[in-house]
Point group: C2
Chain length 188, copies 2
Amino acid sequence: MASKGEKNRQRIIQAANELFYHKGFNQTAFSEVAEASGIPKGNFYYYFKSKDELLDAVIAMRLEGIRDMLHEWRAEYAEPRERLKRYARILLNETRDVVRYGCPMGSLNVELGKTQLALQSRASEMFTLFHDWLVEQFVALGYRQDAAPLALHLLAMSQGAALIGNVYQDQPFISSEVERIIDWIDSL
Amino acid sequence: MASKGEKNRQRIIQAANELFYHKGFNQTAFSEVAEASGIPKGNFYYYFKSKDELLDAVIAMRLEGIRDMLHEWRAEYAEPRERLKRYARILLNETRDVVRYGCPMGSLNVELGKTQLALQSRASEMFTLFHDWLVEQFVALGYRQDAAPLALHLLAMSQGAALIGNVYQDQPFISSEVERIIDWIDSL
DNA sequence: GTCTATACGGAGATAGAC
DNA sequence: GTCTATCTCCGTATAGAC
């Protein structure tokens, strides 16, 4: 039952999610989230105890989205190799945003990793969802003790592509890196 | 001639350099730089017109450091392939810091890329110094139109390794990624 | 050139009316 | 539950004494 309060809560989370991505967590003020969501900033403390807790709710929403996506990928692709390639193409989904704002997971973790380790640890759960799903696919391909390192390596390649693509605002570069990654998957 | 004023200027830059790396640019307050450098924050505006200009000076110092390092690498290694491998090992220099604070270049660019594009563009010059030096080596290896893409790819692999190593505070992972990169260079 | 004191704005967070 | 008004702190930046 989506109560009125729950609806407002969701609107705040949605607005914060986009602003945290575009501007960064620490550089986003409540006043901006208030303007974007249409809810006065004074009300935020009825829904969240603090800004940190708002971020926690944003991450929780992202985690749900990732879980759903991975679930769909499982349904859509039966072969582990095809699943790995689907992951590799993730950067092509929103290349414009990646080039402009970086990877939503990567940039948030980088920011929080400086001085907000508790929140960073929470944000790293997004990576872990992908990681565990990738491990599953590598295991299905016959890799055992190498599955986890391979998954981390795949995460790293995607993040490297996103970061350099962002630094140089270079969309074609991201596409070519995705090609490279897919070739690598085929070579396994 | 290092005048007294110039010495103070350098001390501010040194302190800011470390704090910008450890805490991020926007999360570092003048009061902290003041405490670390022993120079009252009120004095900063005698040496720099703004915080942005202080960052500019920090980046200028880092650029000089990179130039010097690349120069030394040229002297130390004659073969282009050995030079590429030396670059690949750069993450091993300060792995503890990379794991704790991320890559000094990458994390700064990610932060500035959100809402401070002019400063990000300046910060990207650090990457460009490495990029151009790497292109030089790939050309010497016989690559022509592929030299630039290969250089970008190498930058991306390093950044991906640094980012994931930072996210999971995983030092061994960075070492294993460096191994992978070196194998890739050998395969060229 | 170097210092202290302070202006000014905006941040997160709170109080209390309705 | 929802709103407005406001508190307190701390950021960058400035003024002006020495």
